[in-house]
Every structure is written in structure tokens, then in C-alpha cells.
Symmetry: D3
Subunit: 165 residues, 6 copies
């Protein structure tokens, strides 16, 4: 029946619609990499505060980078059906977009393991954006976080995947 087939596609539910952690015991250990991105847009004044002048060397991006890296390591504690993983690399980078008054956050996660790391990459991006929000909220409480998505995935049975642009 159609509905049953569709349900099978939601690997995180069993046939009764109950939460289901996928069993990866038998999956091969392969090198896996995922990249993700997200954006935080703010008003002009706040964007200037963090990108120009005396304080552009300040800790704003350093704090957000550390928060993102730490969050990737906490992913299985935050997202109930994620497996605990031993990330061998987490990277978080920031690009300022002065035209749109936004900061682009990108992340890369990598390991040799049995399951993909896109949730870790998305978590790194999300928490880095939240940290930027926290650091700037006194100047602009109306900021918006958007465009959080996976860019690429490599490794595992499904091989290479790339977001359409």
C-alpha cells in the first residue's frame, strides 16, 4: 500500500509511526564529509559594528566559531535520533556580505564512520548563527537566521550529493 511505502521512506519512524534510531551496526566504515551553510541578516548599523572599524578584530566571529565547533560535537545530544559520532574534523567559517548586510556561515564536518555527518554540519551552522544573534541582539533584536541547508555530502553508500544551486 502506498502509505506504508511512503512511511518506509521516513527511516526515523518504524511501521507504527514510532521514533526509530536507524541501526547502522552493519554499515561500512567509510570517510564521510558534509558541508552546510546558513545566514544571519541584520540592520546596517549592526553589520557595520561587527565588520568595520576598531573592533573588526574583536572576538565576535571567534566566539561564534567556537560555539559552532562545540555544537557539532554535541549533535547527538541535541537531536534525539542521531548516533554518537567521533568527528575527526569540524570547521566553521564566516563571510561578510556587505551588500545584503548579512553574514554567511559555512561548516564542514568529517569522520571515518558508519553514518553521514550532515546533521553535525547543520548544527554547527545553526549554533554559530545563534551565537552571532546573541552577540548582536542588543544592537538589533530583529535579526533573521535563514538559508540553513546542506551544501554537499560525500562518502557512504549514497556517494556524492550536492545541493542544486
Amino acid at each position: 500500500m502506498t502509505t506504508t511505502n511512503q512511511a518506509a521512506e521516513l527511516s526515523h519512524l518504524n511501521q507504527h509511526g514510532e521514533a526509530n534510531m536507524v541501526d547502522v551496526t552493519e554499515k561500512a566504515m567509510t570517510s564521510r564529509t558534509a558541508t552546510a551553510q546558513g545566514f544571519i541578516s541584520m540592520n546596517n548599523e549592526t553589520f557595520e559594528l561587527i565588520t568595520t572599524g576598531k573592533h573588526k578584530k574583536g572576538d565576535v566571529f571567534a566566539v561564534a566559531r567556537i560555539a559552532g565547533i562545540q555544537a557539532a560535537k554535541k549533535c547527538s545530544d541535541l537531536i534525539p535520533l542521531c548516533h554518537p559520532l567521533m568527528l575527526s574534523k569540524v570547521q566553521v567559517d564566516f563571510t561578510t556580505d556587505s551588500e545584503n548586510k548579512q553574514v554567511k556561515v559555512t561548516s564542514l564536518c568529517r569522520l571515518t564512520g558508519q553514518t553521514g555527518v550532515e546533521m553535525e554540519a547543520l548544527t554547527a551552522v545553526s549554533v554559530a548563527c545563534l551565537t552571532l544573534f546573541d552577540m548582536c541582539k542588543a544592537a538589533d533584536p530583529a535579526m533573521e537566521i535563514h538559508g540553513i541547508k546542506v551544501l554537499t555530502k560525500e562518502g557512504g553508500k549514497s556517494g556524492q550529493w550536492q545541493a542544486s544551486s
Copy 2:
């Protein structure tokens, strides 16, 4: 000097541009509430899987709700300069938008304390969205999380704040 003034607006940096946890020791204990929202959009097939048919009573939203509530409680562990807080209420709700094939996540956080709870509300929304992503990613790896922002804040010295619509 202008730059110094601007820096002062970023309460989370000190005058040297270093990370600074705001001292709230002397702030009054008042009842504070914040609400936030976010969205996750997906392809048509995945949207149908979680909103219709036999499994619409499944655990998808229950898991995401719990993840969001738990994440609000972990906010000060995730965001480096946030103060530890004792939330007295966290609520996470979901609305399905069949026209745009997206789920809207809203959160409410409340406490009687010395500092606002908008970061907790934003964290709840973000992690609930990430959990929905995790549960649906086998069906649609190209989902996007967007529109994460504060809706309202109440309490504290700055009083009522509402996002412009």
C-alpha cells in the same frame, strides 16, 4: 569617538573587543517571556509523508517538540555568553503550511529572572527544525530552514518588544 560608541552597543564585547558576559547581578528579577519562530520547507512528497495518511499521528512532531524543549534548557551550554537560567515554561508548537510545503515552528520561553529569554526561544526553534530535518532527510536532503527570528519579548527594563511584520 564614534567607533568606541558603536562598540559599546555590542554589549558582548568589552572595550578591547574581547568576549564579555554581561553582568546581570544587579538587574531586577522580573517575569520575562519571549516567543520565536522558524520554518522548514521540504519537497511535496516529504511534506505529505509527515502531514497526511496513516502516519500523521506518528512521532515526528513529538520528537521535534521534545528536542526543542530540551535545547531551550541547554541554551547556556550552547551559546557561550548566555547566562544559566531556570526556565519555568518552555512550549514548542508546529503548524503545517500545505500551500508552501513547510512547517512553522513557534516557541515560548518564560521565567522570573534577571535576563531575557529570547536566545532560549530561538534555540528551541532552531533545534526543533534541525530535528525535523533529521527525521525527514532520507526523503529530502535538500530541505531548508529559514525565517528564524524573535516574535515578541516581554518583561525587564526594555519592556514589550514586537517584531514588525
Copy 3:
């Protein structure tokens, strides 16, 4: 209607049957205490190992005590709808019952706050029992943990409560 009334009794579900963290913002701050107990029973040989001879001064109970105290502090991280609390006292004690070859674990939790602490007391007892299990499992993998319940609650609107014996 009956079903609705019944549902109202489950304070942790809202009217739609969804997980609901009770809002304690308006509840008074009062001194609250809860005590709980649990048991772990084991074979005779294992019971002797931890209660007699050269090693009765060993770290077995010290490790389980610390694990129980630490677990009480983690309660709101373990149990999704529990509020974060600031416990002002946690105590975990052990009594050996040589007749039944079991260890009785009791706990006491206390704070001045807006919500009861029986879940913290039960969590302390449960994790202390699990730790005893872990330390003795090489000698007896068939141990059983049982009799976990609240003994007394004091404070708050509902006042004194005591388990019937």
C-alpha cells in the same frame, strides 16, 4: 466530558495530547523536600563481596553515592519535561540487607523553589542503583533493581505527602 477531564489530570499533556511543560512561573518559592528509595538485589556471593571482608571499605558505595548525587543535578537534562532546578541539598545513603541479599538506596533532595523535587530524588536512587549494578555485574549479571518509589514530599501547595507502607 470525561475524557477531557481525565486528560486534564495528566498535567504533562495539553488538550491535544501533546507534551506540555507545566508553567510554574506564578508558583510561590517555598522550601521543598522529597525522599525516595530503591533496591538492588544480587546473589549471595556478590552481596558478600561488597559488604564483608577486606573490601567492605572499598569505593563501591562511594562511587554509587557520587553517581546518584550527580544524577540528581542532571535530572532536567534526562527527563524532558522537568524544569531546571537549583538543588540546595542532595543526599544518597545505602543500607545493606543481609537477609534478602539486597542493598537499599535512599535519597533526599531539597531546595527553595517553585516545583517539587521528587523526580530528582528518584533519579538519584535510580542512577545509584545502576552504578551498583555496573560495579557488580562481572560477579552477577542477573541482579535486579526494584522498589523505586517516592517516600515523602514536603512543601508547595499540596503540602506533606507520604507513601503508604
Copy 4:
């Protein structure tokens, strides 16, 4: 001497009776599975609330399942001498026993690793029972958690183990 031999059986104490994390560095990586069970019994009215009527589709079991799965992943943080593990599967299930007014919780944990996963399975069961307690305590504060034990263990040097019934 007898006492010394006995002490050797408590692998989690060294020869001085001090807490000792077993060194598993040299143990083989094998597939290991453990199952465990536990029960929570309640009064008739509360049992009805969670198993019948309009709310039997409510989030009660979904929340407890997620709490149990998350707790299995936190096992080495809760139980001091447990090794950190990378679980590849955690499953938590519920069976309602209307004759005895109790819920039976079963768990399964699995990984390919150097040490068994029965503590993870027991932790999942314990925290799922505690979460059921939390969600029902307004209706029945006198519930009891009991019968927590390992059902089966597979893998590793000691091979298959099964609780006697």
C-alpha cells in the same frame, strides 16, 4: 586468600578497593547487543488515562521513548566507570499490561565495540520509566518502578547470556 580472589571478581575495584575503570584497549571489536526490561505500575485510574480514550495517541510514550534513547547515549556520563561508547542502535518499546496496571519497558542497545552494552540498555529502561513517572505523577504519586534487569547479552568473549525466567 579467599578475600583477594573475591575482590578480583569485582573488576571495578583494584587491589586496594579503589574505583577502577577496566582497561579494554586490547579487547577485540565485536558486534554486541544487550536487551533489558523494567516496569512501572500505577493505580487503575492513571493506567486508564494513558492507555485508553482520546489521549491514547498522546505523546506519553513518545516522550518516554525519546528520553530512554537519549539516556542510553549519556550512559558513560551517568555511570562513572562506564566507557564512552558509540551506540549504533538504541530501541525502546512499551507494552501495556492491563491486568496488572503496569507498563513494561524494553530496550535494545547495539554496537561494534570493545565492551558490552547492558548498562546502556538498563539506563534506557530506567530513564524511560522515570519519564513515565514524571508524566503521570500528578495523577498518581505512589507509582513504583520495578523489575529492572538485563534480559540478554550477545557478543564479546563471554558470548551469549540470557536471564533465567
Copy 5:
């Protein structure tokens, strides 16, 4: 008897020598502040790497500052008999001492609460030192962390305390 009196001075042991979390339920809520310091000394080459040249504006101190702030918030999770606290201010600062090729780390913790915050201040200093060690260990694995102590305590029944210099 003397020994008993002495034991009473170790507030973290009860009369049986067992771990004891001090009951602070009845203690007054007062503003409390503690400051602490610690040092990490390294070889000349490593000291130059982090204090001079192109990279003196690098993230070394920013990462250690964040680690120290976050660790202060985790104090009750790290130190078994510490009470959970709601810090209202944590500050971590670094001074470079080119004569002795060492970095001095100082911390300040503050809250309005029932117990002192010197353990939080010491934890912030310790983890900031460990983070500096981690970031520099490829250049000098023989670094040493030393001189960790409380500088001042204010507030509470015991009033002002200051380390003798």
C-alpha cells in the same frame, strides 16, 4: 574528641566519612564574588608565537577565554559536591609575562545566591589554562600549569577574604 572535631571542619564529609553535599537551603541569598588566578609557563619560542608577530591578534586567547567562561557554568557538573548555581557574571582575562615566559589567567565569578563561587572561578582558570596548553602543545609539550588559587572572596556569612601575597 579531636578527630571528630577535625572531621567537622571537612564540611564535605559526614560523621561517617562519607561524601556530603552541604545543605544551603537556609542560607541567605547574598551577592557573592570570587576571583582566582593561574599560570601556564612555556618555552621561549612558544611564548613568542602567541604574543608577538602577525598572529598576536589570533584566536588563542579568545578560545581560552570562551572555554574558561563555559567551564565556570559547568562547575557543578565537574565537581561532585558543588551546588548548581546561576552565575550572573563570569570574566576571564589574560596577562602575558615576557620575563617568565608565562601567561597569567585571572577569573571573576559573581552571583546572588546561597553559596560562594570560588570553585567556579578556579574551574574557569583551570580550563582556560588547559585550553592554552591544548593550543600550544604542538610547539611545546613540556608546558606547566601552576599557581592556581583563590585571590579574593566577597559576600556570604564569612564576608571578605583575601589571599595573603
Copy 6:
């Protein structure tokens, strides 16, 4: 250029001076062991309290040992650029030095993995010392923690390393 070369030696900064988690994906899995030590010195009266008389069998060292073991497992959560690891052995020991009124803490960490475990060993020592401080601070608030350093490292590409004495 010299500065660039020097920066390269700080593996935890990239070429822009930004925090950088080293990519260990391609490193071989080898057995790795590290040992570390630290000291806490106290006044004569406090030293006597924890080492002689009726309470020398008390829980002081048991609590500190457990805290040290647990902290080693939390290392990657405490130190931002540390990789998550699966320690297969953690050991924490105490030696009392009555001449200098100090306690020496030593630790050993081991695993089969892609990166060294000296940070875990140092974290175990540091948190064990902090726990001793906490347990004795009512008797002597002027204690000092010192001499924290790596003693030996084994395994990995760099082979055996030993601190000069």
C-alpha cells in the same frame, strides 16, 4: 617568512590566526597512552585531616578519583578544539607527601585512536585537584594547585615522549 612558519607550528590556528580543529581523519589508529601529574598543597591541619585519624578511610580521595575519571571523558566538551575520543582506560591515583603537605595526583589515559590523549590526562588531574580543593576549602581556603604537566606520551607518529625531570 618567519612569522608564517611559526604560525604553522601552532596547529590549532589556521593561516589567518583563526581557531582550527586539526583534521585527524587520515591518521592511523594506534594505541596511545598519556600520563600526567599535578599537586595540591595545603596547610598542615588540613593535610592531617585528610590523611590521618578516623577519616583517612573517608570518601575524600574516592570522590576526587571519580571526578577525575569523569572529567577525562568530558575533555572534548571542555576544551574547544579537542576531538571526541573513546577512552578505553582512565586511571587516577593519589600520593600523599607529608613533608610538603601536598597531595600528588597522577593520571593515565589510553585508547586506540587517531589522536593523543594528553589533554584527557591533564583534564583528569586538574579536575581531581579542583575536587580536593572543594572538599577541603572550608578548612583551608588558601590551598594552591601546581605542577600540572604531562609526564609521558606513547603511540602515534611522534612515538615516545617523556618529560625531563
